[in-house]
Structures are given as C-alpha cells and as structure tokens.
Symmetry: none
Subunit: 402 residues, 2 copies
Amino acid sequence: MQQIINSLIQKNSSKIVLVVLDGLGGLPVNGKTELEAADTPNLDALARTSACGLHIPVAPGITPGSGPGHLALFGYDPVACPIGRGILEALGLGMEIRKTDVAVRCNYSTIRDGAIQDRRAGRIPTEQNRLLTAKLQKAVTKIDDVNVMISAGMEHRFAVRFRFPEALPPDSALIADTDPQKEGLMPLPPKAATGNAGRVAAVAEKFIEQASSVLKNEEKANFLLMRGFSTMPDIPMFGEAYGMKALAIATYPMYRGLARLIEMDAPIVEGGVADEINFLKKNYDKYDFFFLHVKKIDSYGEDGNFEGKKERIEEFDALLPDILAIKPDVLIITGDHSTPVAMSGHSWHPVPIILKGPYVYGGFCEKFSERECHRGELGIFPSVHIMPLAMANAMRLKKFGA
Amino acid sequence: MQQIINSLIQKNSSKIVLVVLDGLGGLPVNGKTELEAADTPNLDALARTSACGLHIPVAPGITPGSGPGHLALFGYDPVACPIGRGILEALGLGMEIRKTDVAVRCNYSTIRDGAIQDRRAGRIPTEQNRLLTAKLQKAVTKIDDVNVMISAGMEHRFAVRFRFPEALPPDSALIADTDPQKEGLMPLPPKAATGNAGRVAAVAEKFIEQASSVLKNEEKANFLLMRGFSTMPDIPMFGEAYGMKALAIATYPMYRGLARLIEMDAPIVEGGVADEINFLKKNYDKYDFFFLHVKKIDSYGEDGNFEGKKERIEEFDALLPDILAIKPDVLIITGDHSTPVAMSGHSWHPVPIILKGPYVYGGFCEKFSERECHRGELGIFPSVHIMPLAMANAMRLKKFGA
C-alpha cells in the first residue's frame, strides 16, 4: 500500500502535525481510564469537531514496543519492517544509525577459565560502566577500515556500532549471538549465517579480542557478550515515501533515533512540552510534516502512577491551544501504543486518536477518551492508515485510477 | 477471496439488485451532508429495517476513480486489478473492449519542423475533432491484420482501439507514451518494453505514420500523440466468478463499458432513473443480478451544487418504491465512492450502504446518512465484501469447510 500512496503523491504547501502522546491509551481504574479521569477541556472540544477513532499498531492482542509503535504511525508495516534489537539499543543510547552500520547490544560479563561465570558481570553500577566504556572506546576506535563507536547503557549494558566505509547488503548482520544464555558455558563465536555477514563477523571477532584484552584485569567486567547484530531496515526514507520534508521534535534520544532512521531531521531539543511546541513554531516554515513526541505520559503509565499519568495528560491539554494557534492543516493527536497504569507497561489496546482536518464529519464524540473514540467516524483501524488519511485531508494524494 | 467465493457458489432463483448512486457520500455543509439535508422518507424507512454500514473502495485515504470504485463494488480488488487509462477512455467513449484489443488515449497536436508546438492542438473545438476523427477513421480502418477503431472525445481528445485477430498476452501494451510532455520536443516513438508489446508498437508506429499523412495539411491538428496503451485486465468474468447472469442498466457509456469488461450484458438504455427502473422490470425474469447505475448525483457533486445533489437523491428516493415493488431478494443501495459537494470532486470518504435482505438485523439506524450508517451492523468495511454479503443473503453461497 505504501507503493500505491507513493504513486499518488501531489505536493502542496499544507502542514501536517502528528503529536504522539507516548503510551496514551489506558484502562479503567475505579471505573475511569486515565484519559477519562483527566480534565481535558481542549482535547474534548477538539474531539467533538474532529474525526476520532482507535488504531491498532501491530495486530489485535499484540503489544507493540516503541519501535513498531512509531513505525506504524509513520505508515510502515511494523511486521514487514522489523527493527533489529541492536539498532533500537543504539538509538536509545543516542547513536545515529546509517545504512553503513551494524549495531549490537552488549553486556559486560565475567569470564573465568574460558567459561562465563556471570553473564551480567554482577550488574555493575552504571557509573562504573561509563568509566569502563570510555576506556574501551579510547582503546578501540577502528578495526581495519571500520569505525567503532561504543556507548554505555544502564548497569552492565552497552552498545557498539561498527561503521563500514560503504552501505551494507541487508543480510550483513545475520550473525549468531555470542551469549551462551547460561552461566558455566563458553562464550560462542560471532558466527555468520551468510557470506556478507562473514565480513562483519570477522570485525566482531577482532573487537571481542581487543576489548577483552582491555578488560582482562577487571574484577567483574572482564569480558563482553554480543547480541542482536542488526543493520538498518531496508525501508524507504520518509521524504521519499511521502514527498514531505519532516521534522522530529523529541527530547528522548530513542525517538530522535527512530525518526533519523527514516531520515527525518531530528535535532536535539531539550526541556518540556512547552519547549517542544516553541521549537515547532520556530521551524514551522521549514518543513511539511512535524512529529512531536511527548514522553512523560508513558513513563507514569509504566510506573503505575495513575495521578502522574493523568496530570501529564492535563499538562498537554493546557498547552494544546498553542498548537492550534499555528493552524496546521491537519493535526493528529494520538499515542504510539497504550500503557495502562493498571498494567504498568505497554499493552495491545487500541489507541485513541483525534484527526483534525478540513474534510471530516465530526459530531460523533462528546470528549476525548478510549470509550468515546469507539463511537468515532474512523472506527477501529490499523495504525498504518493514519498517514494516508492525514495526507488525504492535506490534499496531498491524487485520485487512484480514472 | 474471490476464489473462495467461487468455490462456494450454489445457484438458485434469487434476484440481487445493486443500485449505484454514483458519488453518493458527502460531507457536512453548514452542519449537514447532502444525504442528511435531503428529504428521503423511503430510504430512511429502508435503512431502519436493513443492514447498514460504510464501505471503503480502495483503502483509507485513497480517492477512487470510477473504474476502481465500480470494480470494488463488483467484488474485484481494485489494486490487484488496475484498469489502464486507455481502456477507461475507450469505455467512456462507448467503445467495446475485448481480450483481443489494445486501447490508447490520443491527443490531436500541432507539429512544426519535427517538434511538438502544441500538445493539445490549441484545444480545437469538439465539433472539429468529430469531423477530423471521421476523416481519420475513413482513411485508416485496418493495419495489417489489425482492425482500427477511432472515437472522438472532447476538444483535442480521442481514443484508438486496435483489435487483433486473437487474444493478446497481458504484457502486450507495455508501450511508452509518445507524448514528450513538453512543447518544443520531438514526439517519442511508441517504444515496446517487452517482446509481446513489440507487435503492438509496430502497429502503433504505422498508425501514427498513416494518420499524420491524413492530418498533415491541418493548421492546428496536424499530428497526434498517444498515451496510456492498455489491454483488458486479466480478471475473471462476472458470470464465471459468481455463477450469476448479470444485467447492467446505465445511461452513460463509461458504466456500460465497465460492466461489459466483465461480460455483464449492458444494452444501451436512455432516459432517466424511471426509465432505468422500467428497464429493470422488463428484464427481471432474464437475469440473476442487476447493476442499476444512477449518474446525476455524482455530476452535481462534482459541480459543487448542494441543492442539485440533494434533489437528485430525493428524486431517487421517490422512485425507490417502484424497485421495492418488484421484491428483489437482496437489494443494495450505495455509491461507488463519495463526491462531497464541499470538495467538488471524488473523495476517499467511506460510502454509506443499505443492504436489504432476508437475513439482517436492522434497527441500528434512524435514517440513511453517512453518520447514521456509522452505527449500522455492517460497520466500516472494504467494498469487495459487498458481493459475498449479497450472495450470502441470497443463499447463493455454501458453507466453507465441514
């Protein structure tokens, strides 16, 4: 379907704003969901005159991670376009990923007499991880013609990015994890499943060798294990797919990284939602499409903090008039998945959406909530339909067939 | 899915009537859509006791042309079964198209010293086009073993049909347009992309040669450009697909042509909707399936004439009792796409549908309108589901599996 959309593109000067309230959807606690409990006069007014509904990022019953959730919002089928774990880890640590790169999740681990004694090196403190990673990066910056970048995560976790001189074939990262998954076993070699992966595996082998010589005198973190070797997914870039220049506005590195994967501009933005909206205003003339990411709603959902999530929704509601004031031709407000406080985590529940545009019915919903959106004109639908609906309302799609 | 349907066919004497109110769906203007504003007591009464819903011809956000819109109603996936531009143009001019044919859209154009000076020959009057086309047809009726038929359109437009002695392989029309798309350039040769297309391209080359010698002394229309070479789509015929003998009742050539593409009988019918209904009555014993096309509703939508579209809907409503009087087992009333007056053109909005049959719930909708149909028992669904739903209600489908 993305190919059909691509063949129908017509450019114009319209602006589309997609606001992602991360983890927006919820479940009732004492009868009311987070959205139902929140006092949201601005969202409610917008819902009354907009197209509303609920969307499903992956499939019914499937709980999406942040990667698939966002890809679906951007119109990419998240099942057909999987993003490797190494890539997601690297993006989350603020690394930039290109078609020349292989990214890998790593653990510091403890080895004794050739066998893995602790796969997580006793979960060393994050601070110690940072010092070790800096030391490692200093010692290993290049392997043959491959640039090596290393970034510390939490506790024993870190990520490595191998940057090759030229774009890699898509099967270049089909390499087995070196983690034997069980203490007492020997680490496995980075075994390549294809010829193209052989080149990357050879670099990984040298990396393990050089890194373990740097780490060998550490008490706990004297070795490392590698998992989730991955390359860029082979997907069209956003600008090429939709004929729109896109700006991502996100304060968390993972979401900027996801946006950069499809070549949205995603400069570092700091501060709260008000700062993000100011950034939107300042750059409004320079782009066609804007992805504005609001993280905190999800964080409180994950923490199981009902009041916290409710208040973050109310905080956004209070700022909504500032977005409406710039009069985008199409404004979408939704989430990338649900994060019900009742579950303290992501869930599979369809995500409520408001699509404000010039060619909608409106008049179906009294307010913005999961249950009201069920009455909305968009019904329950796959998230990948959001982009075509937004483009249609922005008059950016020609007629199909005569 | 069409294959599954085909494997489940059971024949009986039931009758299915599909009424297509072309461009039926609308958008609110001053709070009410065309259907909401229209006074339609008969449609409203029918909606109250029927299955209602909204259907999507191609995909969310995609605006269908008339070809894809009708194919979807007839149960053919419009993305998998694209109809070439040449075929549609020829159908619109009343030509009949078979599997032996290649159809091409043509423009009269002006050439000077080998370069195209005006791609549209100064948009010559339609009357002059008719005279020229008659002259051209008289001079060129056959090229080798290929029959040539030429039909005048509006202003500078016409269509050519090459009829070969036998059915053509599906890649026979993969031939580049000869229109260079820009004035001042030389016309391009009809270049074949495959071996099978080579034979057709050679005929096209001879046609251009012979036609330009007929036209050479014209002041403006002294040359021609060819675009959209196309063959019949490779799709099953209606009778074979559904085991029903079908009659198309349409006053516009394009819709009879679309029906003939899938071998519905589509004799010329003239007059208004009342005449179409009379024709239905007269032929009621001879067919199983009836496609009755009402054009004018779309025409007023395209013109942005709210009152006109509303009145055409009311006109149909007043005639509806005449259709109900013949007591079809299944009666469907819907459109092939929406044509909101607010947009003066086709749109992507889901199309309201009434399906009257013996095995429906009813009781969901107060009246027939886009917003009421949202509450209907059929929900929002792809248009290709209409045929199986109609056949099921007519008891024309066996159980799937044991």
